[in-house]
Each structure stands twice: as C-alpha cells, then as structure tokens.
C-alpha cells in the first residue's frame, strides 16, 4: 500500500537523500516523564533507520517561551526541517511563524497547533485517550464513584483528557459520579489527595490515571497502604485505567493490579515525526486518506493535515504484544 | 611592680587600605584601672578586638602575664583571661535577658541539658547585683538602650576574668547609671580586678583611672599616670596640638524682646504629658533629664518622627506638622537623630549623598540631582564642618564615628532650618570633634536659628542659654545660663540636696 494517498509519497527508506536534504532539529517538551524520555530515545534510532540526519534533541523543559527560543535557535543553526512536540497548542504559533518565515517545514508531534503552518501533525488523539479510559471503566463500573487523577490543568494534553473523560461519562454513564484530583503531574500530590479522598469515599470503584509515568506508583502505593489493592476479579477490585504505555504499567496489568492503559505510541511518534520531516525536506506532499501504518491522514478544520496514529488500549489480552513499544524498551 | 597583666607589643592592623593600628603598644599592670583614649578612629576599638582575640594582629604580639596569647580558636582560654563590653552591642535581641547573660555557658542540669530554672535564678541574681530592674524573661531587644548596656556590663563582669575591658560603656548611660558603674568598678578594683577603660568623657578618666594611654592616628603616643597628665595636656596628646577648651555660656544671650520662634503648649505623647515651652530666635535651649524622662520622645515629636497624642506646637506662627518628617523639614525643622547608626546615616551611600539627603529635591530640576550641585554642596559641608574624608564620594561607613556624626549634622543643616533639634549630638564623639560640633551650633545660632540640644552631658549643655530639666515626662526645672554643675546634676537625678 502507498503511504498516505499522495501520488509522490515514498515509503520510509534507509539512506537516500536525507543527508543532502540537510539536518533536522527535534524539540522535546520536557524530559521528566518516562514517555518523553522514551520518545527521546527513539529519535536517534529512528533517524538512523530513516536516514535522517538530526541535531541532538533540544529540551524545552516545560517552558513554552523556551520552546519558541529553541525553535529560533534551530532556525539560526540552519536546520532544514523541525520536529517539535508543542507544550501548548497555541503557545507554539510564534515559533512556527519563525520557521515559516525561513521556509523551514515543521512537523508537530503529539499536539496540534491552533494555527500557523505545519507540514504534518503526528499525534494520537488525547480526547480519544480520555474516551477509551471512560468506556473501559464505565462498562465495568456502571454505577458509583470514579476518580480521575488529572494532570496540570494548564496543559492541553491533560485538559483534553479530562474533558473527554468527563463528557463521555456524563453522556454514557449517568449513574457514575466523577471525583477529581488535580495533581499537576506530581506524584506526591496525587498520593496525598487520593489518600484523603479514599478516606471520605471508600466506595470508589474506578480510577483513571492521566499519566501512568507519574501516577501509577503513587496510586498503587496508596491503595496498598489502605488495603484496597485487590487483583482483578476480586469483588472489591477497583478498576484502574492508566495512560502512557510504559513497561511498569504492563507489569501491573499482568499482575491484575490495573486493568488497562492507553499506550501512547512513543515509537511511532518518533518514527513518523522524522518520516514526515524527511518527506518535507525532500519536497513531497500528502493528502488526506488512509496510510500504510493503520492510521489515517485527516484534514483539520484549519486546513492542516493530521496523521492520526492509533493509540491502542492495552489490557490483559494484548499486553504481551511485541508491537507495543512498552514491551521493547528497557 | 608585678609582671604586666597584659601587653600589646608593637601590634599593627590594617583593613584594606586603612591602617587601624601601627606599632601600637599597651602595658596594663594588675590592679590598676587603665584608660585608653584617642580621637575617633584612633584605633582603640581595634586594639580591643586584638586584646580579646576577636582578630589576630597583622604584626606584633599580645601577651597575658608574660605568656603568649592563646590561639584565636580557643575562645575559652581568651575568656578566662579577659572579659569585654564591646562598643557594638553584643546582645542577641530575640533571646531573653537571662539567656543573653549566659550565652554559650547556660547552667546545665543532667545530661548536658540546660536548666532554665537555674538560668533564671542566676540571671535574676546578677541583675539584682546591678540593680537592673528588668525581667529576666523579657526579650532583650525590647529593653531600653541603657538597660541593654547594663546587661552587657553585668555579663562581662560575671565571667570572672581578672581583666575587664569596657569600650565606651558610658556613652548610653545617664549619670545615675554611670555612678553605679563606677562604684562597682571601684569595688571590683579593690578585689583585684584590672580594667581597661575607654571613654570620650575625659572627666571619667580622671574619676576612675590611674594610668592613661593615648593613641593618635593608629599610633601609641604616651602612657602616663593620670595625675601627671592634666586635661589640657591629655587633649594635646590626643589631638597633636594645643587646644583652648571652650568656655560655657555664662549668661543668656537672648533678651525677652527677641520674638518667640517655637511655642509648644500642652503637648503630650509617648513618654511625656502636657509639656509647654518656648524657644526664642537665636536661642540655644538645653533639654536634660534621665533616660526615662521623656526628653527624647518630646524632641522626636517636634521633628516629625513621632505623632504626639495631644497639644500643639507653633513655629513662627504656623502650626508644626506632626508625624511627618518631610513636612517638618519643609516647615523649617532640622534634626540630628539620637543614634547615627540607626537613624542618621545610610552606611553604603557616599558622604555627599548622606549630607544632602534632606535637600535631594533642591539639587536640580524635576527632582533630578545634578552631580555638580551635589558635589558643590558636599564640598561646602565638608569644609564647613571640617569633616575628615577622602572626598564627597567616599562611602560614609568608611569614616570614623566623629566624622560620621558631622555628616549627620551636615544633613540637618542642609535645609537651612529655623529650628535645629540635636539629640545626643556628641555621643561617642571625641573631644576635638565635640568642640567642632558645638562651634557649629554657636555659628548657626548667631545666624538666628533656634537650637534645642537634648543631652545630659554637661559639656553639651554648656553652650545653652537655658536648660530645662525633664522628669517623669514633664518639665521639672529651668536653669538659666551660668548654672552650677552639681545643681543641674541633682535636678536631673531628681534628688533635692539639702
């Protein structure tokens, strides 16, 4: 099958025109999460496979202004393409403009910019994460209290997961009451608040963790200390759905401690981010339609193209699937 | 004669480019009270810091009883040899009085545990010996300055050392308290304790000391029995030149026809009630009284530092604004506040800026300070008041105490005040500078400015046309020029001599 539906699309191939096309820069949003750390590890690997020459990755350290500066610096260094994972859908636009002025193509990974010109958006839908978690929990719990441990309310990713989760619960499971724990992507905050909340609501039936990398350990630890960590199948088992797809979550699924996780495709992010930037540097173009990697390129209302990668829900059934990135990292 | 108790042999000390001591020497024999005198910045306090092991001399040697001094780190050894009341307060404000008396040597109960009960009891005992009427549990920072000073003295004497240094212990005390200190010193001297005593009040040197050493410009000048060195000779040794000592004013220079400049009526405030007084143009009014008499609070109310609770003050027919220094300045009131370190100077700023701080708005258009005008103003002040400094740009904290005090005076005079209020204007100032400051008072008085001098130092009050004595917050006595020392002192103490 062809790659996307563009006539001149090429399959990602090793070597080739990459080197002549120039170097690409990769901007990371942060490094303090296992997910982005995994992504960061995949970048050089995928670059080698695809034959893209990249500069060392740049870390914006959770600061949107720094991210704009980082893009500026890459532009100054004469890169021919940029792969950026925006910290914020809007607070990236100024950076995109800088690149556009210099005619440098940009691929956005994980977050779709509100406006500005990008060659391609590579992402798995955060709203889909929230919905998948909602459905999985809702189908099993049906009635009662469910806790949502939220991320930083100021981050798009966290916000979209929260909104989707809440909307889906409201629409599909009217008997479920959602309790919220805003935890700012911080494990100690999550533990303290969950601890307190469970005292008042010992009848909680489900928990959605918006980031397994930070919240998995404190959640399990808190449940353990309260004697509420029962394996799946037990009457008192609390249905837990996490989000990230790191190896520790898989372990927990295997042990029956949690039920599922939405695997954010760190490997595919790196691969297709670099793939599209290479394509852009080579002057290729894409059109909406299905791709060769189980995804679909759609045209967003603002005219930008988005390759919507699959974010599989990992449960006991498919947890040992070798294709999951969480099973191949160490 | 026995071996010297303490000796400093050819000691020197530099601070950056400042030579604080050069080849200085001092020999104190047991049982005597030895005075150390010199002008501000002569190096006295520096010598004290060497003698008490706070600093090491750059050169030379300190010996105790013929033995070399212990290493600096061995504080216990130093403390066994010498106790000291430093010029700078060594009170820890947030600790209680009792604990301040026993810092780092609190009485212990079992297991190295501090016994607060014993600490309180022993503290109480120590304070009682001194008649210091403060609560052992009071926060030291809340004490009046003089009580704080007494606590320091009591502490220094309680170490049991046979050699005690007092660096200007009397600067903050009233006469009563000074007398108590001297009585105590004499008693201790009889029991064999030796004192090194530093003061700018030369009469105190004659009162309690047997020997005197003079430092000038960081150097040793002379050591002699006080009896051999009359006051004039002593001052000459300190200043390097023969000085005629100022006479006091013997009769009032303002007649009843001179118009009144300041009329205070029924003024009440923090520590005074219903005070009424009047000062005429060109008159110098003295305001004396013990530290609790309310004289300082009254003065601070006149200059805008405090807001009185009732009454009024009228300056040249206009009501004096209270509680706002800016407006008081604009109304024509100048002030030398009571403590130059606290309210007088901004240490990091230059001599020039400190001296012009009250008139910063007048040195250029729209509040811009024209550097040339600032410089001109400062140079004039430096010349007028004979301030010893490298120049207007020198930070004021590099000056000696007396010269710093002159800068505060310059600041007060900068606005050309009609009423000048001087609170303890010569505290810690050497004789020569004191003369110079009082000469300035005389000069501006001649120009028609009225001056109020708040002090209980007789030398400060001599240039006054009239002295009011305050007791318990009201005016108790009035002395026209020509008063006798003992009458005034008796009135200040509140004792009626039969």
């Amino acid at each position: 099958a062809g790659c996307g539906s563009t006539k001149d699309a090429a399959r990602p191939a090793a070597g080739g025109a990459g080197a002549e096309a120039g170097r690409a820069g990769v901007v990371l949003p942060l490094l303090t999460s296992p997910f982005w750390q995994a992504y960061n590890n995949y970048v050089p690997r995928m670059a080698k496979e695809l034959g893209v020459e990249t500069l060392p990755t740049v870390n914006s350290n959770s600061d949107p202004a720094q991210q704009v500066t980082d893009i500026n610096n890459l532009v100054t260094q004469g890169v021919k393409g940029i792969v950026v994972s925006p910290l914020d859908s809007a607070a990236i636009v100024a950076g995109l403009r800088q690149a556009e002025n210099k005619g440098i193509p940009v691929v956005a990974v994980d977050v779709a910019p509100e406006s500005g010109k990008v060659f391609m958006i590579v992402r798995a839908n955060n709203r889909a994460y929230g919905e998948k978690a909602c459905k999985h929990i809702g189908d099993q719990v049906k009635k009662g209290k469910v806790v949502q441990i939220q991320g930083d309310l100021a981050s798009v990713n966290g916000r979209e997961r929260s909104e989707a989760f809440n909307q889906c619960m409201k629409a599909n499971y009217p008997d479920i009451k959602v309790l919220e724990i805003p935890a700012e992507w911080k494990s100690d905050v999550a533990a303290a608040k969950l601890d307190g909340l469970l005292n008042a609501n010992p009848d909680v039936k489900g928990i959605y963790l918006q980031a397994g990398g930070v919240y998995l350990a404190p959640t399990l630890q808190t449940l353990k200390s309260k004697g509420m960590l029962r394996p799946a199948g037990d009457d008192k088992h609390i249905v837990i759905v996490s989000n990230d797809g790191i190896p520790q979550e898989f372990d927990a699924i295997r042990k029956g401690e949690i039920d599922a996780t939405v695997s954010q495709p760190a490997d595919a992010y790196a691969r297709y981010g670099l793939f599209y930037v290479k394509a852009a540097m080579e002057g290729k173009t894409f059109r909406p339609g299905p791709t060769d990697h189980d995804s679909e390129i759609v045209k967003l209302p603002n005219g930008l193209l988005e390759d919507q990668l699959a974010a599989p829900l990992v449960t006991k059934e498919n947890v040992d699937d070798k294709a999951l990135w969480g099973n191949s990292v160490k | 004669m026995s071996a010297p108790l303490v000796e400093a042999i050819g000691v020197g000390k530099r601070f950056g480019s400042t030579v604080a001591l050069a080849d200085a020497r001092l020999t104190v024999v047991p049982g005597e009270s030895h005075a150390l005198v010199g002008r501000n910045g002569a190096g006295k306090s520096t010598l004290v810091s060497l003698l008490t092991g706070l600093q090491a001399p750059d050169g030379g040697e300190i010996r105790f009883g013929g033995e070399p001094a212990p290493p600096l780190a061995d504080r216990d050894a130093w403390r066994a040899r010498v106790a000291c009341v430093y010029q700078r307060s060594t009170i820890v404000p947030d600790l209680t009085v009792g604990e301040n008396l026993f810092i780092n040597r609190q009485p212990l109960a079992g297991f190295g545990r501090i016994s607060w009960k014993r600490l309180r009891a022993e503290g109480r005992e120590l304070l009682d010996q001194w008649g210091v009427e403060v609560d052992v549990d009071a926060r030291a920072g809340d004490l009046a300055v003089e009580d704080r000073q007494l606590v320091e003295i009591a502490r220094a004497l309680s170490y049991g050392a046979r050699f005690i240094i007092l660096d200007e212990p009397t600067a903050q005390l009233d006469n009563n308290e000074i007398e108590r200190l001297f009585a105590r010193m004499r008693a201790l001297q009889e029991s064999g304790v030796t004192f090194l005593f530093i003061s700018h009040h030369l009469q105190e040197v004659y009162e309690v000391c047997q020997t005197v050493t003079v430092l000038r410009d960081a150097r040793w000048i002379i050591t002699a029995p006080v009896a051999d060195l009359p006051r004039a000779a002593l001052v000459e040794a300190m200043t390097g030149e023969a000085t005629a000592l100022g006479e006091g004013v013997t009769e009032s220079r303002v007649g009843p026809d001179v118009p009144v400049r300041l009329a205070v009526s029924g003024l009440s405030g923090d520590a005074f009630t219903d005070v009424s007084l009047a000062v005429r143009r060109g008159e110098v009014l003295g305001l004396a009284g013990s530290s609790a008499s309310g004289k300082i609070e009254l003065a601070e109310s006149l200059v805008g530092l405090r807001t009185p609770s009732g009454g009024s003050a009228v300056l040249d027919g206009e009501a004096l604004p209270f509680g706002d220094v800016r407006r008081a300045l604009d109304a024509g009131v100048g002030c030398v506040p009571r403590d130059r370190h606290h309210e007088g100077l901004v240490p990091e700023l230059s001599v020039g800026e400190n001296s012009a701080m009250t008139i910063a708005g007048r040195l250029g258009k729209y509040g811009v300070i024209a550097p040339s005008r600032l410089r001109a103003h400062a140079e004039r002040a430096i010349a007028d008041l004979d301030i010893r400094t490298e120049g207007p740009g020198q930070p004021v904290n590099a000056l000696s105490g007396g010269n710093q005090q002159k800068v505060v005076m310059a600041r007060a005079l900068a606005t050309d005040p009609r009423l000048l209020v001087l609170i303890n204007p010569t505290a810690g100032v050497d004789v020569k500078s004191k003369e110079a400051l009082l000469a300035v008072v005389d000069r501006i008085r001649a120009g028609g400015t009225s001056v109020i001098i708040i002090s209980d130092e007789l030398d400060d009050l001599r240039p006054c046309d009239r002295v009011l004595v305050m007791r318990h917050g009201s005016i108790a006595d009035e002395f026209p020029a020509g008063w006798h020392d003992h009458d005034l002192v008796a009135s200040i103490e509140g004792v009626t001599r039969d």
């Binding site: 490094l31 805003p182 100690d188 608040k193 307190g196 520790q248 160490k330 | 947030d94 780092n104 926060r139």
Partner: protein, 317 residues
C-alpha cells in the same frame, strides 16, 4: 508572650479542623487523620531542615532538589542497569546510607559556599537547586525509578501501632530538634547566631563551624525526607521535590520561623506543616473545583500569615 507566638496558629488550625468536621464526616476519622499525617511526613522533614537553617539566619532553597537527587542516587547504585540503574547493584543498605550521605554532602557544599566563600545563601542555593534538578534529570535520563528493593519504601509502607513509620520518624525528629533547640547549648547557639552573629562569636560560639554543621544536618534530613517521599509515592520521578520549596517556606514561616533568623520554634513549624496538610486534605474532601483549588490554598496561607501577624502583634520584617 513568647509562648503565645508559638501558638499563634493553633486557633486557625482548630477552626479548620472544626470546619472540616462539618464539611465531611470522614474528615475526623482515624484513617483520614493518619492520611494527613502520612502525606505530611516528607514535607515535615524538609520543613524541619529548613527551619534549622532559617533560625541561623541563612536559607537553603536547594533542599527541594535534595529530596529528589538523594534518594535517586541511593536507588541508582542499588537497582540493576535494566531498571535504569548505574548497574553497580550495591547492597540495599549502602544505597539507603548513600541517601543520607548525598544529602549531607550537598549541605556541606552549600555550607562551604555560604560560610567560607561568604556567598549569599539565597542565591547560592538557588543556583544549586537548578544544578541538582538538572543532575537528577541527567542521572535518571528522565526515567522514573520503580524497581527499588522493599526497604526503600518501608518508611511509608510499614506501620507501628497503625501509624506509618515515616510519621513516627518525623515526630521523633521534631521532638529531638525541639529538645535540642530548647535545652541544648548547641541548639541555643543557632538562635544566637541568627540573632547576632558577632555577639555569638564574641561569646565563644564557633559560628562558622555551627553554620556548616546546620547545613550538613539539614541536607541529611532532606535526604531522609526524600526517602519518605519515595516510599509514599512508590517511585522516584525525575520531578521529585520540584517546587516543594514553596510549600516548605510557607509552612516554616506560617509556623512562625522568622525569615531573618533568630526566631521560631519546632512546635510552631510543626503547626505550619499540619496546617498545610489539613488544608490540602480538606479542599480535596470538599471537592472544590479543581480550577480554583490552588488559589484557595494560597489564600488560606495568606490569611494564616495575617492571623499570625495579628495574634503576635509583631512586624514580620
């Protein structure tokens, strides 16, 4: 009077507790009280450490980074390379000891810069905070460390008389520190140094040595705080301790520790910690809108400060 100051927060604390009891019936349940205590234990250790330093008139902002880097290094030398460790696989006890040692070393380094080189403590420790935060990210390569042996978590997971060891440990630390500060010459020396270092020196206190010691002890205590935190959350995230210093300073100062040294007690600091713990717990139980919870928490701190100001009648400058 002096006692009063220490207790200034008690009315506020009581008011909150009463409020809590009305808002949620579970608030005063045994389990919830244990929860509050357990979640406050790590903070308590760091507040204790910071309080000691503040009393001497210094400050160490980098303690928050110690909370992350110390247990991380302790874990990295123990866990296998496969779990992102250094691959040394040293015995667990060595790793645990290393946590305290790293804390002490960081403290010693800060102390050296502040005491010997006379650099400003605020800014030195701010720079160190950034350096150590960076080192944590570098050393863990951003990974979360999970696979530590059980003893790394024991402080939070083991209980004695139904209360986690971490709480006992924090209580004991406060007790010992409180006793020392009140009844030991060395403890009193901290107040003297904070109040008037020149006077302390003149009284024979070895100011530099004591200061250095306080920095070292504070570092070690923060390392322990980090270990408690590790047990509490069950892992070491590369963000561990980040921004914690805000809460540490807030708890200490709300608890009456003066920023400019020489004042404050352990009982006060402890009320500060408990106040913050109770506030967080209460706001969670009340399910205050997650968008406003942070500003409400800040506002409560502000109000507590004002209460402390009014009841003690002292300026806080």
């Amino acid at each position: 009077m002096r006692r009063l100051r220490e207790l200034a927060l008690v009315p506020a604390l009581v008011a909150l507790i009463v409020l809590g009891a009305f808002v949620n019936e579970n608030f005063l349940s045994y389990a919830n009280i244990i929860s509050i205590l357990g979640s406050s234990a790590a903070l308590a250790m760091v507040v204790l450490a910071e309080s000691l330093i503040l009393i001497t008139g210094k400050i160490d902002l980098s303690l928050e980074s110690v909370v992350g880097i110390a247990p991380a290094l302790g874990a990295l030398v123990v866990i296998p390379a496969a779990s992102a460790g250094f691959g040394l696989e040293l015995p667990t006890a060595v790793g645990l000891a290393l946590i305290v040692v790293v804390g002490a070393l960081v403290g010693a380094f800060n102390g050296f810069l502040v005491v010997k080189l006379r650099l400003n403590a605020f800014i030195v420790s701010l720079a160190m905070l950034i350096v150590l935060r960076g080192l944590l990210v570098g050393a863990t390569k951003g990974k979360t460390l999970f696979d530590m042996p059980e003893p790394f978590f024991a402080l939070a997971t083991t209980t004695f008389l139904g209360i986690p060891i971490s709480v006992w440990l924090a209580a004991a630390a406060f007790g010992v520190a409180g006793f020392f500060l009140r009844y030991h010459r060395l403890g009193r020396a901290l107040y003297a140094i904070g109040g008037n270092p020149a006077a302390a020196r003149a009284a024979g206190i070895r100011v530099d040595r004591v200061l250095l010691g306080v920095f070292v002890v504070a570092g070690a205590l923060s390392g322990l705080g980090g270990l408690i935190q590790t047990g509490y959350v069950g892992a070491i995230n590369a963000n561990q301790g980040a921004n914690m210093i805000f809460m540490v300073m807030a708890a200490a100062v709300v608890g009456g520790i003066a920023m400019d040294g020489g004042r404050g007690t352990m009982s006060g600091a402890l009320t500060g910690v408990l106040l913050l713990g109770v506030v967080t717990n209460l706001l969670t139980l009340a399910q205050v809108s997650s968008f406003w919870i942070q500003s409400i928490q800040g506002a409560i701190i502000l109000v507590a400060l004002m209460i402390a100001r009014v009841t003690t009648g002292r300026a806080q400058e």
